[in-house]
Each structure stands twice: as structure tokens, then as C-alpha cells.
Amino acid sequence: MTDVCMIIGGPQGGGIESAGQVALKTVVVKGFNVIGTREYHSNIMGAHSYFHLRFTEKPARALRIPVDLVIALDAESAFTHMWDISTKSYFVYDADSQDQEVSKIPSMESSLKRRVKEALAPKGGATVGSAVKFVEEKGAVPVGLPLKSILKKVSDETASPLSAIAKTVNIIGLAAGLYLAGVEYDYIAKGIELQFGNRPKVLKPNLVAARIAMEYVESSFGKQKALPNGPHRGRSRMLASGNDVVAMGKVLGGLTFQTFYPITPSSDEAFYVEENMYKEDVNGSKISILVLQAEDELAAINLALGAAAAGARASTSTSGPGFSLMNEAISMGVMAEIPVVISLWMRAGPSTGIATRQGQQDLLHAIFSGHGDTPKIVVASGDHREAFFDAIKAMNWAEEFQTPVVHLLDKYLASTVAVLDEWELDVSNVELSRGKREDSPGSEYMRYEITEDGISPMAPLGKVPMLISSLEHDEHGHVTEDPVDREEMVAKRARKWETIARSIPEEEKLVLHGDPEARVTIISFGSTKQIILSAMEELERRGILTNFVQFRVLSPFPAETAKKLLSRSEVLIGVEMNFQDQLSFLLRAHTGIYVPHRVRKVNARPLYDTEVVYAVEKIVREGAKEVVVSGGA
């Protein structure tokens, strides 16, 4: 049974991202399921970053720590990840860095330096050599790569100067590590070709580097047993990040207008829409999406609202700080009844927080955004597949209900790459809709016509004169302060909200995973889904049967169904990556149900399945109320 989890770390700008991509492609070609994510600092060059990846025969649902393989391309990586190994793991490091001292590494956080010094004091000082002893004592096998001499060999063989091939160090480390894990050269070569294939000048030295690295490991540590191929060998599959799949959903869901202001971790979604904004011929149709970088998030959403009023299918994407700026316009979207989708990629807050790290702290912000009685749809995706379909669904809902829709995502999904099979993204049953769109309004058209379901026919601008107003208005859209008009319009918006709550099927609002009879129930939302599912399998092996209620649509909140599903639960556990227990708060507000136990992660790193297992065991076996888990570098 193959199940390998690995970390490759090095300086930002040092090819960690491309090493990760090569690794993903290699193991997909080898036939495995895979999940991989990039952890990085808010920095362009020099700070530590790492790629965390797991490949397995089973569905690759989550990452874990400890890992089976650490590839530390520099001293900082060795110090940072010496804690992350398991007893039988390999610890690949730069043998030339043996004497490097932690105190001499300027890019390292001072707190980490202190922790390293404390841990390595008994080993005779905080050097890479001591870190190697540290991992050895924990049962790992240290594998020192003489990077300088390997690079020299690559330089000789490719007849290129050292400076030209120095960048292959990421592939040297990766190839050595993958070889130790049992992946043969041919697969790694294929992974490298898939990554660099269109750039022959990069491809050749990397192939040579990979071969020399593997030969070195083989000669120094013995021939490794090759892993049998995974079950998906020979099948073409997609590797895509959460940012990618949301962009794909938008493009295929009929988006015609997208705005953004650059902000991590949302920008890559907009970039990928932009990359695909124009395609002459797809099945006889044309893709043509106007993508505009706005001057700020205020403009980003107001541009989208204007475009939507003029008939475009419009969206914008942002993260917490940008979403804060969008609040007033969201309120206008509700008042003026303009459809817009906001993809909200949460990150660690408050304020600027940690821009490149994980957090789930904007749930309440999303729901309560905008002043003055402004309900809006909030849908949270649990994984890549959901994110893809939700992106389409969000656009449908926005237009059907003429309202802002917040598509709630996060940094973990944004930068996590998953493998997807063709059937998983089957769109043949997906419908695109615009609700009560009116393309030929008569002269009596009223933008805010009072209707039973609260939804008025919506004509785009340019057909007949109409008024769209952020001020309280009458049916025509004309500004009014009349108390009767006012009450009628509030009632209309309230009926619309009821229509929304009624129209979205309960099974799309929340999903029960696992045995309905289980007495232990986990509740959560967003990207924790697959991590929890993975943990549930392990918990069952350990004798704890759980089920999991995943909240998909958090506004309108599925209170009645939640009550029904949770009524039988004896141990109720909330898993959240925020300290206010935001989902539990909502649940209690809507149903009165108190969630007595919680698993919390707030160190701005991804949640691991190993942590959920640990925490749930602690709660179920020891009655712990709250377990804070803190893995990840």
C-alpha cells in the first residue's frame, strides 16, 4: 500500500514551486492520486517556502505531518523541517551545509531560531550537522547530497557553466528524494518533460541533473526498491489548484465580465480567467470575457455591478482585506438588486494578518457584510470539485435572485493542487440560467416591480429607460422616503430572501457524510472537508465511528435540516480555523444547538488529517472540550 507524504523546502525563488509541479506530474504519471500545496512567505525572493505533497493509491484527501520524506535544499529548510519527519523517513539535505549555524541565517524568523537552538543545544550547537543528528535519533535516515560536486558534474556533462545550471538544484533534491521513495528515473524524467517540455534549454540540464542525483543516491545508499505503479497508470487526469478550478467554473459557467485587484490568495484565479479570456473556437462557440484589473477593490466590485446592470454575467474575486472594502457595494447590490459573484479567498487575519497563509476567519464577515439588513447568499466549497461547480452555481444564483453571492474559499484551496478525473468535472448536466431576465421589456417596465416571490423581471440597461437605485425606491426605482413605499420594499426584499431560502434545495445546503447512526458528529465548513473525511477513515480504524455534517450554504442557513441531522448526535465537535468558533456561533444563533467540543487551528497553516484524528480521539476518549492543533512549519 503506497502512501507517501513529503516536503521539499528551499528559498523562495529557488524553484520550490516548479519542483512541486514536477513531483505532482511525476506521481500522476506513475498512476497515483496526489494532493500538494505550497506554503510560502509574503516575500518575492529568499524567504523559506516549501511544497507539501502526498501521493497514494487511495483518494488523496489530505496532507499530514509527520512526513516520510523531507528534502531540505538549504540550511533553513533543514532547521525548519527537522521536526516534521517520522521514524522511518528520509531526510535529504545539502551535505555541504553541515557546518552552517542557525544564527547565521538572516531570513529565518527569530522565534524559530530560538526553538532550533533549544532543540539542538544537547547535540552540540545549532548547526545543520546537529539537525541531522536530531533526525537520526528520531529514527530517520539522513541522506546528505554533496550539492556542489553534483552540480559540477551536471555542469561538465551539459558543457554549461555552473552559473547556468545552478538552478537545477531543486530537481537534484527532488530526484534524489523521489528515488528514495521508490520512483524510477523514467517517471521523474516524464514529470520534468511535462513541466519544462516547451523550453529545451531548461529541460536538458534538468534531466541530466535528475539522473546524476539518482545515480549518486544509488551508489551511496544502495539500489532502492521501485514502487509498483499506482492504480491510475495510463489515465489522463487533470492537475489543478483551487484558484484554477474556480476560474474554470467561471469561464464555462458563462462569465462575461471579471474584475479584480491584486491580492493573495485570490489573484491567481483572476489570472487564470484572464489567460482564458478569449478563445476563438471552443466547440463552435467563442469564449470572450472582459477581465479588468481595477484600481482598488471598491472599483472592482462597483465595475462588476455596473457591468451586471448592463447585462453582463459579472464577478470579482478578492480576499479578506479587499472584501472589507467591498462591503458598501455589497449593500448596494442588495438594495439595487444587482447580480454579482464575489469569490472570497480567505486568508489569515485580522487586518493584513499573514497574507499568504491559511485561515477561515471570514465566515461571519461574509454573511454579515454590508450595512442595513442585507442578506446575501454565502456558499462555501469543501474541495476542488465543489469549488468548480459552485463557481457556476453562484453565477446562476446571482442572476436568478438578482443578488450578491459570496463564494467562500480559502488559501488552502487556492494553492492546493488536486488530481481530477474527467468524470468528476462532467458538465453535461449543468444548467446555466439567468432567472427572470427580460430582454424585451415593454414601455411600462418597472425595474422593481412588486411580485409575489419578491423577484422582479430584470432587463439590462439599454432597452427602455429605467431607474436603478441604491436609495430606497419605489417600483420604478424612483427615490422615495414614503413610509408605505418603504415598508413595501422591505417586504419585497424579505420575500425574495424567503424565495431564495426555499429555492435552494436543502441537500445543496448541507451534506451528511458517514454513518447517520454515529454518535460522534463533526461539523465544519469549507476546505476542511476532505481532511475530515480522511480523518474519519482513520478514526473508524481506531474504533471511533463518526459522521460529519458539512455546511455548504451558510446563508440562507439550513436551520431545520441542521436540527434534524444533529438531533441524534451525542458528541458534537466543531472543526474550525478561527478562534471565535464562527460556524458554531451561527448554528447556535439559528437553532439553539450548542457545540460543546471544538478542534481549532489558528497557526495559519493547513489542517492535517493526523491532527483531526488526534483531536477527536482526545475529545472522545478523554472528554477534552477544546483541542488546539498546531502542526506545520
Binding site: 500522476v28 459557467g253 470575457i289 448592463a310 454575467r313 439599454g462 429607460p465
Partner: protein, 307 residues
């Protein structure tokens, strides 16, 4: 049959103070629209928040009354989604140059075909007369407890720096001249500013009609004045004189067209260059199919690992 100015008047009660300069501006807009015979169905007037932004309710056509400061991005979204529409922004100096200043700058950079009509009275009228971004320092209007300690900005210079391709200044009570400026701004292809000096008889007791009348004059009084630049070379040659005129705001205040660039392309034209067919089938008019046009594996091939 050509439209008359009254055809653009709505039934709404115009709720400005008696003597407000906004009346003059509104009347000039009616007349400019009538002379251009713009179809009200095709006209979108976008306003922010403030006395002047309410103009949107008084002009027959489509109207969007947005939130404070955001008229320009909303209008930009409308125009980019459907470039066939005539989109006009009306708002005050506080809305467009204060809270919305960043968007005012961005519009110039983009050169979207939208005229911006700034009702420039140097005060925030609707909130009872606080200092606006064009109120000069040390002026104490009757509603200010102290003289204004913040300086004023020059809308024309700001527009020039930002890349507006049409820059003009008018006066609210000069109906005919203002009508011509608004007409020219609407006809101009690109981002256009008409800074309209407008006495606020209720709150600005300093920059009054008398104060303005003593100072204003028209650039066109000089028969050699030609604000049009047709090439980068002409721009370079004429800019110093134009800037000198834009900076003049003391004992003499010039009115008229300061600058009109006829060679710079609009954002809409740039999009057409990277998206063939954008102008004929823009985002607001593209039909939505019943189903996605293809499977993602077919469209995003670079993400599929071909083994």
C-alpha cells in the same frame, strides 16, 4: 423627429435650493442631449451621492444612483459591458474628487468613453456645507466653524496628469456655453472632464455668482486658441500653454476647452484589439447558452497530464 430639451425632463420634483447652480447645469444637460438627439433608452446617467448626484432622477433615460464616490467605476462597468450606450457621470467635487478621487484618476488612465460632469461648488451641500476638495485654504464659508485648513486640488491638472483626453471648464449660469461644452464632451471619444463651477447660494457665501463673474473669461476670446492635439508632437508643443491656462485660478479664471486629444485610443478600442469582436458582441450582450460550451478537459488542456 428630433427631440426637444423638454423630452429629457422627468416628472420628478427637482429638490435643489432656489438659485442653486445645479439648475443651470441640468438645463444645459437637457439641451446638449436634445441637440445630440440621444435616445433616452440608450442613455445611462450615473450619479454618486450628494445634491448634484440626484440629477440622475431628473434626466429622462436610464439612471443609476450609486453609492458615495463610486459613480465612475459603476459607469465604467456599464460602458465596458455595452459600449453602444451613452454613459454620463454626474456628481459633485466631493463625490468625484474627494471620496471618489482614486476612480477619477483611474478613468483617465483607462480613457473610457465617458464624460464626467463635476458640479464643482467646493462644499458638501447635502451634509450642510463642509469644505469640499476644491475649496481653497483659509477660506471660511458661513457653515465652517474655522477657515479651511486643507488646501484645494486642481481638477483640470489632475485630469491632465491622469490621462483624460478632453478637459474643459464651464460655468453653471452660462447656459449656452455650458451646453456646448457638455455636447463636446459627450461627442468626444474618450474620458472627458467638464469641471463646472457652480455657486452654492446656501453654503458657499464666498465663491458666489458675483465672485465668479468678476473672474471668469473664455479661452475662445483668444481667436488663436486651439485646444485640439492630433499627434504626440502637437501635444508636446501645446502642453505648456495649456497647463499654464489650467493653472490660472485667481483673479482670472478661464473657461472653455483646455485640451482635447484626438489620437489616443480608448480602452474599448484596446479591448477590441485583444478580443476580436468585443465591440460588436460586448459582455452585456453576449447570450448565455443553456449549458457549458465544453468539458473542462477540452478547454483547459494544459492542466491535463497526457500520459
Amino acid at each position: 423627429m428630433a427631440r426637444k430639451w423638454l423630452d429629457y425632463k422627468t416628472d420628478s420634483w427637482v429638490q435643489w435650493c432656489p438659485g442653486c447652480g445645479d439648475f443651470g447645469i441640468l438645463n444645459a444637460i437637457y439641451r446638449a442631449l436634445a441637440e445630440l438627439d440621444i435616445d433616452p433608452s440608450n442613455l445611462v446617467v450615473v450619479g454618486g451621492i450628494g445634491c448634484s448626484s440626484r440629477s440622475v432622477y431628473y434626466i429622462k433615460g436610464n439612471a443609476i444612483h450609486t453609492i458615495h464616490g463610486r459613480a465612475i467605476p459603476v459607469a465604467s462597468g456599464v460602458k465596458l459591458a455595452n459600449p453602444e450606450l451613452t454613459v454620463i457621470v454626474t456628481g459633485g467635487d466631493g463625490d468625484l474628487l474627494g471620496i471618489g478621487g482614486g476612480h477619477f484618476v483611474a478613468l483617465g488612465r483607462r480613457n473610457i468613453d465617458i464624460p464626467i460632469l463635476v458640479y464643482d461648488n467646493a462644499v458638501y451641500g447635502l451634509t450642510k456645507g463642509q469644505a469640499g476638495p476644491t475649496l481653497p485654504a483659509w477660506i471660511q464659508t458661513k457653515s465652517l466653524p474655522h477657515p479651511n485648513v486643507q488646501g484645494s486640488l486642481n481638477p483640470l491638472l489632475l485630469a491632465f496628469a491622469a490621462g483624460y483626453t478632453f478637459i474643459a471648464r464651464g460655468y453653471a449660469y452660462h447656459l449656452n456655453q455650458l451646453k456646448d461644452l457638455i455636447k463636446a464632451a459627450i461627442q468626444h471619444k474618450g474620458a472627458a472632464l467638464v469641471d463646472i463651477l457652480q455657486p452654492c447660494p446656501t453654503y458657499n457665501d464666498f465663491m458666489t455668482n458675483e465672485w465668479y463673474e468678476k473672474r471668469i473669461y473664455y479661452l475662445s476670446e483668444d481667436p488663436s486658441w486651439d485646444p485640439v492635439v492630433r499627434s504626440p508632437q502637437e501635444h508636446k508643443e501645446k502642453a505648456p500653454k495649456m497647463l499654464e491656462k489650467m493653472m490660472e485660478f485667481d483673479e482670472r479664471i478661464p473657461l472653455g476647452i483646455f485640451y482635447q486629444n484626438t489620437y489616443k485610443e480608448t480602452l474599448e478600442e484596446r479591448f477590441e484589439k485583444i478580443m476580436n469582436g468585443y465591440l460588436s458582441s460586448p459582455p452585456g450582450k453576449r447570450p448565455l447558452g443553456k449549458r457549458p460550451i465544453a468539458h473542462p478537459f477540452q478547454v483547459f488542456k494544459e492542466k491535463v497530464i497526457q500520459v
